[in-house]
C-alpha cells in the first residue's frame, strides 16, 4: 500500500533531507543533508525506525500537511508551533496523522531548523544514493505549496507514540574545535584570542555556513593571500577576507582558499545550526584523540536514542475531551468470578 503527502502551504525554506551523499568530494560535491543531523536520528528513535528516514527540513516556518495513508510522524529539531485537530502537539515526540486530519506547523519558537519525519517513508527518487536537496547545486528543489510527495506505508501505524527527553541545543554554547591543516598558520596569540572571544551568531547564516560576529579585531593568518585552494569540510572555521570567522555547514563547497583556524566537530554542528540570531557561541579546542573518540562514539547515538524514546502515557488531566472516551465498557454485579 502506498499513499501521498500533500503540502497545502509551504514555508519559504522547506526541503527534503536525509544524511546526504558522502563519497562525491572528488567531484566537488559536499555530503550535504540535514543541517541538524541529530534531529534525524531523534526522529528515527521516536518512530523506532531501523534507519534514518527522509525528513522535511523546515527553516523558520513550517507548513500545512495532509496524508492519504495513516502514519506516525516525529517532530524534532527546532521547536515550532504544531497543531493537529485543534490540539497543540508536543515537540520531540511522535504522533499519529490520519487521512482527513490536517497538520499545521507554524513559526519557530526556539532554534532554526525543525524536522517533520513520517514513519511512512517519503518515496522519492534517489540521486547518488540520497534524496537530500542541495538546491544550490541544482540537486533537488525546495518544496512549495501544492506539492505532493509519494509515500510508502507506515510499517506499524498502530505502534504507540513516543517522547524523547532532549538536552537543549537551541541556545548556542561551546563549539569544540579540532586542529586542521592550517591551524599552524595562525599565531598562538591569535588562536588564544579567538578562544577567549564571545561570539554571537550573525544574521549571515544558512545551509552553506554560519558567520560569527564579534566586536574586536579580526583574526589574521600568515601567508593568507597566496594560499592554494585546498579541501574544506563542514565545521571548518574559515577566516574570510575580513578576518571574521565563518563556520562551514552541510552544503559548503569542497575547496576554498581562505585560511581555516580549525574544524568544529560534527557532534557540535547541530547546536551551531540551531543557534538563533544573536546566541552566544564560543570556540574551545579539543585534541585529535578527543575528536576521534567522539567519532567512534557516534555509532552508539542512534541505538541509545532508540532506547531512550519512551512510550507516551497520557495524563488524564491533560485530556481535554476526557468524557468522550469510553472509560468503562461494562458494569456487572461483581460476583462474576464466583459464578460458574
Amino acid at each position: 500500500m502506498s499513499g501521498a503527502l500533500h503540502i497545502h502551504r509551504a514555508g519559504p525554506a522547506l526541503s527534503v533531507q536525509d544524511l546526504g551523499r558522502p563519497g562525491l568530494m572528488s567531484q566537488g560535491i559536499a555530503t550535504g543533508g540535514a543541517a541538524d543531523r541529530l534531529a534525524l536520528k531523534e526522529a528515527a528513535a521516536l518512530l523506532q525506525a531501523p534507519c534514518i528516514l527522509p525528513a522535511i527540513e523546515m527553516a523558520g516556518l513550517g507548513g500545512s500537511f495532509t496524508v492519504t495513508t495513516p502514519t506516525r510522524f516525529a517532530l524534532t529539531g527546532a521547536v515550532m508551533q504544531a497543531i493537529l485537530d485543534g490540539e497543540p502537539l508536543g515537540w520531540n515526540e511522535s504522533h499519529l496523522l490520519s487521512p482527513g486530519q490536517r497538520l499545521e506547523v507554524g513559526g519557530v519558537l526556539k532554534g532554526v531548523y525543525g524536522y517533520l519525519t513520517f514513519a511512512a517513508p517519503l518515496d522519492l527518487p534517489r540521486w547518488m544514493g540520497s534524496v537530500a536537496t542541495q538546491a544550490g547545486l541544482g540537486i533537488g528543489q525546495m518544496l512549495t505549496s501544492g506539492d505532493s510527495l509519494p509515500m510508502q506505508a507506515d510499517p506499524d501505524a498502530a505502534a504507540p507514540t513516543r517522547r524523547l527527553a532532549v538536552p537543549d541545543r537551541l541556545s548556542g554554547g561551546a563549539l569544540r574545535m579540532m586542529a586542521g591543516p592550517q591551524t599552524a598558520l595562525f599565531a598562538p596569540e591569535t588562536l588564544e584570542r579567538a578562544l577567549a572571544t564571545p561570539f554571537r551568531r550573525d544574521a549571515a547564516a544558512n545551509r552553506q555556513g554560519v558567520r560569527l560576529h564579534h566586536d574586536g579585531a579580526p583574526f589574521p593568518a600568515d601567508d593568507a593571500t597566496a594560499l592554494a585552494s585546498d579541501f574544506i569540510c563542514p565545521g571548518d572555521v574559515q577566516m574570510t577576507g575580513d578576518g571574521v570567522p565563518y563556520v562551514l555547514m552541510a552544503d559548503c563547497q569542497t575547496m576554498g582558499g581562505y585560511p581555516r583556524l580549525g574544524t568544529v566537530v560534527a557532534q557540535d554542528l547541530p547546536m551551531l545550526a540551531q543557534a538563533p540570531l544573536g546566541a552566544e557561541l564560543r570556540l574551545e579546542t579539543i585534541t585529535l584523540e578527543q575528536a576521534d573518540a567522539l567519532t567512534a562514539a557516534e555509532a552508539q547515538t542512534l541505538p541509545q536514542l532508540r532506547a531512550a524514546a519512551e512510550v507516551k502515557l497520557r495524563d488524564p488531566y491533560q485530556i481535554r475531551d476526557l468524557l468522550r472516551y469510553q472509560l468503562i465498557s461494562g458494569v456487572t454485579a461483581g460476583d462474576d468470578l464466583d459464578r460458574d
Binding site: G23, A228, S229, D230, G235, V265
Partner: protein
Amino acid sequence: MEPAKTPTDAEVLPLGQTGVLVRFARHASPAATARCLQLRNALATQTIHGVVEVIPSLTSVLLQFDPTQTNRAAVAKAVKARFTPQDTAEDALPAPSRRWHIPVTFGGEFGPQLADFATLSGLSEDAVVTQAQETELRVLAIGFAPGQPYLGYLPPAWQVPRQRDLTPQVPAGAIVTAVRQMVLFCNASTTGWRQIAQTGFRPFLRDRAEAFLLQQGDALCLHHVSHDTYRDLMRDNADGMGGARLEVLT
C-alpha cells in the same frame, strides 16, 4: 603561485574527523601537483584498508576513511609508507591514462576578455589561442562547483592574477583563465577569472547517464572552432558533450 620548485617534505595533517590530508606545498606549482598525482596513482594500486576516497588537488591529497573500519593513526602510517621520497620525486606530472579532445571557440562574444588577457600576458591574441591549443592541459583538481575542473599548467606568460572586480556572470561553458590555469564552468557563474573562450562540453550533468566525465589527472586538448561551427554544435547538445571526444591511452 610560486615558480616551479621542489616542494617541501610532505606533511600529514588532519582534515575533519574522517580525513587525513597529505600536503606537499602550501602554494600551487607544477612540482607539487606532480607529487599529488603520483601519490594518487600509488594509492590506486596499493590501497589502504578503510580508505573510501582518495582525492588529489593542486597541492595535496585527501584520504577519507571509514572510522568503523580504521583510524587516523593507521591511515597516516600507511600513507607515509607510500610516498615517493622527496629526493627521487619527479617534478613532471605522471603520464595520463585518458585524453579529452574538446572543441572550443575563442574570442568575440564567446571570449569577451581575450583581448584584455592578451594585453596582460604580453602575448598576441593569436599566440594566446595557439598556446592554449598546444598545451596538453591536465585536470589538476575538481571542485568549487560539481564536476568543475581546474586545468593547467599553461606557459609562464599565463601567470596573470585574477581581476580585482568580479565578472557578475559568465555563461555555462565559459573557459576562464588566471594564474597559469583555466577553469571550465559547468553552470553560469560569478568569477574573478577572465573569459577567453566557450565550449559545449559539460563535465557535470545531473541527469546524464554518466553524470561526471572528468577525473583528476585526465589530459585535455582544446581545439579551436569557428563561432559558426560552435553554434552548430550547440544546436544539438542535450548530452553536454559539445562534440568532445575521449581518447583512452594505454
